[in-house]
Symmetry: C3
Subunit: 130 residues, 3 copies
């Protein structure tokens, strides 16, 4: 999938489709991001301002202009991306019951892009069970 | 289960019971919280002061009075709850060997309530393997 | 395995070996650290300075001399270790396809030691699938 620079991008429906196609009724679905400068988060999926607050929080928690960062091969958003990935997740595991992901009412699965430029990102979805 | 407002609440025994009832001897158990304002953490389970320090750390890392938060539909503890969830986990996966969770001596599984009021929380436990 | 005090230590190859030995071609591998003062992170595996920046970031985010920490039974690096564990992970789950872990080009799995002294650490690797 393609991202449009820094920010969160919902992938709940894509994961749900993969669960349905698998035909598996009970088990788990594992979502995995094959990257070191984007990550996955479970987040409130209704209010866009909640995601804006989240993005701003991470911008301030791991600032691009952190003076001691040595690693900046790909620019000032390089090292903060790795740390923001470490502080979130590369994988999310969600239970599946009767063919349905057991997400709560307000839970969405989001790809969190940490680079300023748009990127193509590969997500692997694995459904296990029977 | 019911929480009594902000703080950690151990669920290790409940998860262990579910593993035992499943009859599965070797595999994994996945614990999942179906919410966006509480989360799961693996934590030191012996010293209550360690959990108090943890809770205080999160109160200071994501303060309720953060001036730029836009999202406060449910009060000043609303947005901090979502961010504290993102910084911890919605799922924990623990290996099972010979019917026993492979937790270390001091590891406990905790529900981390981020809201001030008590809430009813739904946790899904999935045991996979054979 | 033995760590040499605070810092990251790559275990990708060890996990890959366990996947190969399992004979499982499609599924997931779960890596689990049985401790409360070290953890697991997925991290950029090529540039050592990226890992140094990461380690410095965590030293500053959760300082050893935090004045309000009550829990210091094992010294000033005790409580920060627990919090750094909570902010990272005790388990990582990686998909396996055709017998290969589906890590991205720059992704490595690292044990993140949070204690100053060297420690022996137990990691459990569980491969599930068929």
């Amino acid at each position: 999938m393609a991202t449009r620079g820094k920010g969160t991008c919902e992938i709940t429906e894509n994961v749900g489709d993969a669960v349905e196609k698998s035909g598996i009724k009970n088990g788990t679905v594992t979502v995995f991001a094959r990257h070191t400068s984007c990550s996955l988060v479970m987040m409130e999926n209704a209010a866009p301002e909640a995601r804006r607050d989240l993005e701003k929080f991470f911008d301030l928690l791991v600032p691009e202009d952190t003076p001691y960062f040595e690693h900046n091969d790909e620019g000032s958003d390089d090292m903060p991306s790795h740390i923001r990935m470490v502080l979130t997740r590369s994988s999310e595991v969600i239970p599946v019951v009767d063919g349905e992901m057991q997400l709560g009412t307000w839970q969405g699965i989001f790809l969190f892009e940490h680079r300023r430029a748009s990127h193509r990102r590969k997500i692997v979805v694995t459904v296990m069970g029977e």
